[in-house]
């Protein structure tokens, strides 16, 4: 069994605000193998973005973390800023939802690409420029040489996102963290970017953690999927396991509550009643219980642990639910 590239154990993220403490992420365990594409899916309040940001120490000032994040035996959580700066960009790259978060509007593209190379890899100007051009070609930007002297505002949204992907990859990191990288893009551009991510991954062998609210995106690119709700992982497994054999009611609900092109139209969309909970006032017990069609009395008082789906069968498929056996209430109501 290969050594995991990233090992997260019992990660908790807390924010102190005027109105009290908000527990954004609770008890998250995650392993990422080299070259593996992990998708994290969740809605607003699920904690997915905060989880990602906490890995590289990028939380806001009022956030605090406990637990462990080990990158190749090095502890990243609450590490010194100097340590983290060595890692960011060089070993772990980041792609954000809004490309303008990463791009400086006052610097040319070329300058921003080569900056990282010269700082981290100590390349001279000529080598750095050549590498930058190669990278721009790799992300399928036409006219790579010309782009170097252009500024971010001269490019469209899709092109800018390609540049940020190029920036994230340019020092050849082992791992890329992507926070909703295609959410702000048109669907045809999103398809281009997803295709690009797939190709880059097989070409460079980079592991990816991609956070999104869109299950469809993960179906195109992910190897493994973790579903988050109210700050916890409620289901985790391979792509096929989670999509074809969901064992948590929330996962099942998500798959059915989305209008889908590949299913026959039904008169009424199945829904998940209620709304995601307020993180500062979580109920005791399972956070999803108020909305769950399978809830039992136990669910309202105890928090289900993230355990193997079938005890004894090490399949890597885990769920945080007391319900045993397969689900299927929603599937039987509607044609699949």
């Amino acid at each position: 069994m290969t050594e995991p590239l990233l090992q997260v154990r019992d990660l908790n993220v807390r924010f102190t605000t005027h109105d009290g403490t908000v527990q954004a992420v609770t008890a998250v365990d995650l392993d990422v193998a080299p070259g593996e594409f992990t998708g994290i899916v969740g809605e607003s309040g699920s904690g997915k973005s905060q989880f990602l940001l906490s890995l590289l120490g990028l939380l806001a000032n009022n956030g605090s973390t406990t637990g462990s994040v080990r990158y190749r035996h090095q502890e990243l959580l609450n590490a010194k800023e100097s340590v983290l700066q060595q890692i960011r960009g060089r070993r772990i790259g980041m792609v954000f939802q809004d490309p303008m978060t990463a791009l400086n509007p006052h610097l040319s593209i070329g300058r921003q690409l080569t900056e990282g190379l010269r700082h981290h890899l100590k390349l001279n100007r000529r080598d750095a420029t050549r590498r930058a051009i190669d990278m721009l070609k790799a992300v399928q930007l036409t006219d790579a040489e010309r782009r170097l002297s252009q500024y971010p505002h001269e490019l469209s949204g899709g092109m800018r996102q390609r540049v940020t992907i190029a920036m994230a990859l340019i020092c050849e990191p082992d791992l890329i963290l992507a926070d909703e990288p295609t959410t702000a893009l048109d669907v045809t551009v999103q398809a281009q970017i997803l295709g690009l991510l797939r190709e880059l991954r097989s070409r460079f062998g980079t592991a990816v953690i991609l956070v999104t609210h869109d299950l469809g995106v993960l179906a195109q690119v992910a190897d493994r999927v973790a579903v988050m709700y109210a700050g916890r992982i409620v289901e985790a497994g391979t792509l096929d396991d989670v999509f074809y054999r969901p064992r948590h009611p929330y996962t099942e609900g998500l798959q059915h509550a989305i209008p889908r092109l590949d299913r026959d139209r039904t008169q009424r969309l199945p829904t998940i009643p209620g709304a995601p909970p307020d993180l500062s006032r979580l109920p005791p017990g399972c956070a999803f219980a108020p909305r769950c069609a399978y809830r039992m009395s136990r669910c309202e008082t105890e928090i289900p642990p993230l355990d193997l789906v079938d005890p004894g069968v090490e399949s890597g498929h885990r769920k945080a639910c007391f319900h045993q056996g397969a689900l299927g209430k929603l599937a039987t109501e509607h044609k699949a």
């Binding site: 005027h18 009643p273 709304a275 995601p276 909970p277 307020d278 993180l279 006032r281 108020p290």
Partner: protein
């Protein structure tokens, strides 16, 4: 099933609202928490701002009631008690001025006049400025251009000679000073309000109001002005000090209120003359002036933080 408790966070607090299940357990309407209430709560946590508010309140109370309860008045000279130093033992706590008048009463009167000027001038400039700015900003087009060009032209009128001319022509009536200052300072507010209106007008809820059939003036009145008030209030608290100072400046030039009436500016101006021999005549009114200005500044800063809409 109980109704959801009032939340203080903007996230979902009504749990499990399904389309079908509506219980009638508690039919009373819950009180909402307006943005003003939110802002007030935030302001209360700001110690500097609250201290300033209290201090200003005390000064205002003293200015109103002080002269009433004091046995002395501000205008009767007492020839036997000229230039008395401040003593705690009986009589004139802050001493007397060069005509033997009680300094404390005169300073309190000075506060009264200065604060009134600040307040009245603000109200005048506010009324004109907000109406002017919102109309120009909302209507847009050539009306906007015309209105703002008028503002530009008035800006270029040299302010001090203008006030001097007014005062010379119409005499140094107290009212006139208020009006003169207010009539010139509305220009700033008009510009600020117009800028805010231009931004607000593009907000979706204004578009929604138009789609709901609400007419121009009603939109200004119901949607634009309430959403502008925050900026306006902050601006006012930060300009009252400058209005007070401006009056002080006029007084320094000898154009302020007529003697024996006094303002902080007049007192400071008089105090400078006697600085060598009787420094307290300068220190006391200056101290009051400084405190008032600091308080307004801290309060204005606190209001700006409290009303900052990004705190979500």
């Amino acid at each position: 099933m109980s109704t959801p408790p009032p939340r203080s966070r903007p996230l979902a607090h009504a749990t499990a609202v399904t389309e079908a299940a509506l219980t009638g357990a508690d039919r009373e309407a819950l009180a909402g928490r307006s943005l003003w209430q939110d802002a007030w709560r935030r302001l209360r946590r700001n110690r500097a701002a609250m201290a300033s508010l209290i201090l200003l309140g005390l000064i205002v109370l003293a200015a109103i009631f002080g002269p009433m309860i004091s046995p002395y008045d501000y205008y009767t000279p007492q020839w036997t008690l000229l230039n008395q130093w401040p003593t705690l033992a009986g009589g004139h706590i802050l001493g007397t001025d060069n005509l033997g008048r009680d300094e404390l009463v005169r300073v309190l009167w000075g506060c009264r006049i200065s604060l009134m000027i600040g307040l009245v001038a603000s109200v005048v400039s506010l009324s004109i400025g907000v109406l002017w700015g919102t109309t120009a900003g909302y209507v847009g087009g050539w009306v906007d251009s015309l209105m703002m060009r008028i503002v530009d032209i008035l800006y270029s009128v040299p302010f001090i000679p203008f006030v001097i001319v007014l005062l010379v022509l119409f005499g140094r009536e107290l009212i006139l000073i208020f009006v003169a200052i207010g009539a010139v300072s509305w220009l700033d507010i008009a510009r600020i309000v117009r800028g805010q209106t231009l931004t607000l007008k593009k907000r979706e809820f204004v578009e929604a109001a138009r789609a709901s059939g609400v007419g121009g003036f009603a939109i200004i009145r119901r949607h634009l002005i309430p959403n502008l008030l925050g900026i306006v209030v902050i601006y006012i608290t930060l300009t009252i000090p400058s209005l007070i100072l401006f009056e002080a400046f006029l007084s320094f030039l000898g154009l302020g209120v007529q003697a024996p009436m006094t303002s902080l500016g007049v007192l400071v101006s008089d105090g400078v003359a006697d600085l060598q021999s009787f420094p307290y005549l300068l220190i006391v009114p200056s101290a009051f002036l400084a405190v008032i200005i600091y308080c307004f500044n801290y309060l204005g800063d606190g209001l700006r933080d409290a009303l900052d809409p990004k705190d979500r």
